[in-house]
């Protein structure tokens, strides 16, 4: 299969984002933490051989543990609790509860003890590390990242790698709130520490992050989507930011985003932002309605950038009439007013140059669907340009407007085919009665396409060629091709 496009759409000489192969992103999320400061020996867990235990006994046995609880507190007997598709737990190495996605973790304290025992039993008897347990349609995945243990119990069809990636995001969210240095210090000083004291208010961010990772393809792809804008407009916005900020010392990143899409990212020379860190920022903005009402000043650790310390972040929406959110990140902890003035200058400049209007227009215009773009046999697709860690997707069209979740499952399945560590495929063409899915991994891009069910291979390949050309012709608008610096 070959396309007529010589350079993949969305490619640029420089990237605003650290370009992580999405596969690397899943398996070595943790390694960068180590690279940054050599703070903890995370790799150990990954390098040690791993065991996979297959549990054949009926899981109902665990019911024994809880016969004592009052009925209303007894989650194991509670069908609403047990029917959840995916549970997520975080605990300390001492087995103390830190977070439970559903249900009160105090009432589940006994269950956290069981989880800690499973981890340490494998550790102490074989000097090994438990990775997963498979029982029927349920997968238990363990991620031991000192000083925490993260566990997911999933009835979804996601792969182990995808589940681990989600747990890594949760770990990073906690790190983002506390910094890894502080997290380690806390447990060095007190193994019995109840970390919930430090995370008050952050549970909300973890809740939102979990929903977010399950709804947005950006997490699967390790990429971000840009708000479509004419390149001249995007450049004007970038230079408005540089103009207002280039005299400010120690400003590391300026990020403008709206509706979960990136508008621009200006960075200090020599520093790059990792998509995983940018996802945490998107999560913070999406999960915090309160940011809309005022200018905010908050410490924020970006674990892939530097897990040992905080950046200080000026967060505000541009104006009442333009709901784009501007974040100015610095290492200085007391420059709120300087950044506040810079923000005013940026907004004034954007208003004069009609950029606010352009942003609003883009926000209110629906993306094209495959149909409106003239691809009648194409239903939906994800296109990721690897070198810039950006992706594009068209608007949802029937039947997926009502089946968003199933569509993402199709993509997750195809993604797993391309990225499973044992036998990664380059090209997948899968036909079912409902649709045809094509997934293609090349050096420059990844493409996932869903077709009408009756299409044949030749037809699909022709369409993919046309699609790549279509994207190429619009790359200026759909992607952030410059990497502006202060």
């Amino acid at each position: 299969m070959s396309s007529t496009v010589e350079v993949e759409p969305g490619a640029a000489p420089e990237s605003v984002l650290v370009t992580a192969d999405s596969c690397e992103n899943f398996e070595h999320m943790n390694s960068s933490l180590e690279e940054i400061k050599n703070l903890i020996e995370i790799k150990q867990a990954a390098e040690e051989s791993t065991i996979e235990t297959v549990v054949s006994e009926n899981l109902e046995e665990t019911g024994n543990f809880s016969e004592c609880d009052d009925d209303e507190d007894d989650y194991v007997q509670n069908s609403e609790w047990t029917s959840r598709k995916k549970q997520v737990f975080v605990l300390s190495m001492a087995g103390k509860p830190i977070y439970s996605r559903y249900g009160n973790e105090d009432k589940l304290a006994w269950l956290f003890g069981v989880m800690q025992t499973l981890v340490s039993f494998v550790q102490s008897t074989n000097d090994d590390c438990i990775k997963s347990i498979h029982a029927g349609d349920t997968t238990f995945v363990f991620l031991v990242k000192k000083p925490l243990i993260l566990v997911t119990v999933s009835k979804t069809h996601e792969s182990e790698n995808q589940l681990i990636s989600q747990l890594n995001y949760v770990f990073n969210q906690i790190t983002s709130t506390l910094t890894l240095t502080r997290l380690n210090k806390i447990y060095e000083q007190r193994q019995n520490y109840d970390l919930r004291r430090q995370l008050t208010g952050a549970e909300r961010l973890i809740d939102h992050l979990l929903d977010f990772t399950e709804k947005e393809p950006s997490f699967l792809l390790g990429a971000v989507q840009c708000l479509p804008l004419a390149s001249s407009v995007r450049n004007t916005i970038s230079s408005a930011i540089t103009g207002a900020c280039n005299k400010i010392k120690n400003l590391v990143f300026a990020i403008l985003l709206a509706n979960n899409k990136l508008i621009t990212l200006v960075r200090m020379k020599k520093y790059c932002l990792h998509p995983a860190d940018l996802h945490l920022i998107f999560n913070l903005v999406q999960a915090s309605e309160s940011l809309k009402n005022s200018e905010n000043w908050t410490p924020l650790c970006l674990p892939r950038f530097d897990s040992s310390g905080f950046l200080y972040c000026h967060v505000s929406y541009l104006s009442e009439d333009c709901q784009a959110c501007l974040l100015l990140l610095t290492v200085e902890r007391d420059v709120f007013y300087v950044l506040s003035q810079a923000k005013q200058a940026i907004v004034e400049k954007l208003r004069r140059t009609n950029c606010l209007e352009a942003i609003n227009n883009s926000l209110t215009t629906n993306e094209e669907t495959c149909l409106t773009a003239g691809f009648t046999e194409l239903r939906h697709y994800l296109y990721k340009c690897k070198s810039t860690a950006q992706f594009y997707q068209p608007s949802l069209a029937p039947p997926y407007t009502l089946e968003k979740e199933r569509l993402l499952e199709l993509y997750k399945r195809a993604h797993q085919h391309l990225h499973c560590s044992s036998r990664p495929l380059k090209l997948v063409f899968e036909k079912s009665s409902k649709e045809v899915v094509l997934a293609w991994d090349t050096k420059g891009f990844e493409l996932y396409v869903v077709f009408e069910p009756l299409i044949d291979t030749t037809g699909a390949i022709n369409l993919v060629g046309k699609l790549l050309n279509w994207i190429k012709n619009r790359e200026d608008k759909l992607f952030h091709l410059n990497a502006p610096t202060f």
Binding site: A94, S120, R190, K270, P299
Partner: protein, 208 residues
């Protein structure tokens, strides 16, 4: 700092096999007793919510197996405990003699920050049974020699002193928690930017 009203305490119960550790816990949590002996496999976990001095406390109780073959789990179980409950059988002198080794083993494995002040509680169980082999005096003397460990004589069967003993356990653990270390000083939070790309890039490093 915004304090949670709720506190979670990890409580470990240790002692020779068949001194009544599981029975004490069952009496305390479920108010139930059974004469039938069922050895604990590895460990059993229960949760109990209590109010101590206007504070809501969740006790995460780790009932360990007394048999030696489970001792390899020790480190894992003891790590980060807030209180350790030692149990012996007042009718079985050997179970009393083992207390020193249980206590030492716990302190070695758990390595708490201040071993001298770590909260232990001693329970002499089965006081409803005859003949008595370890006197209250002997037990109290042992407790005094260990930096005044609180001592309770209990009967899991009759529910005697069980509630009081666990209340004391919660109080001692809480007192320990309140002597918290200062987590806020000396943290170098600020990132220092250097002129050169620092190793933070590593495998992630961008091509810029």
């Amino acid at each position: 700092m915004a304090h949670r009203k709720k506190v979670l305490l990890k409580v470990i119960i240790l002692g020779d096999s068949s001194v009544g550790k599981t029975s004490l816990m069952n009496q305390y949590v479920n108010r139930k007793f059974s004469n039938q002996y069922k050895a604990t496999i590895g460990a059993d976990f229960l949760t109990k919510e209590v109010t101590v001095d206007d504070k809501n406390v969740t006790m995460q109780i780790w009932d360990t197996a007394g048999q030696e073959r489970f001792q390899s789990l020790g480190v894992a179980f003891y790590r980060g405990a807030d209180c350790c409950v030692l149990v012996f059988d007042v009718t079985a002198p050997n179970t009393f003699k083992s207390l020193d080794s249980w206590r030492d083993e716990f302190l070695i494995q758990a390595s708490p920050r201040e071993p001298e002040n770590f909260p232990f509680v001693l329970l002499g169980n089965k006081v409803d049974l005859e003949p008595r082999a370890v006197s209250a005096k002997r037990a109290q003397l042992w407790c005094q020699s260990k930096n005044n460990i609180p001592y309770f004589e209990t009967s899991a069967k009759e529910g005697l002193n069980v509630e009081q003993a666990f209340l004391q356990i919660a109080k001692n653990a809480l007192a320990q928690q309140n002597s918290a270390v200062d987590l806020y000083n000396e943290f170098p939070d600020q990132i220092k930017l250097t002129n050169t790309q620092k190793p933070s890039g590593g495998g992630d490093s961008c091509a810029c």
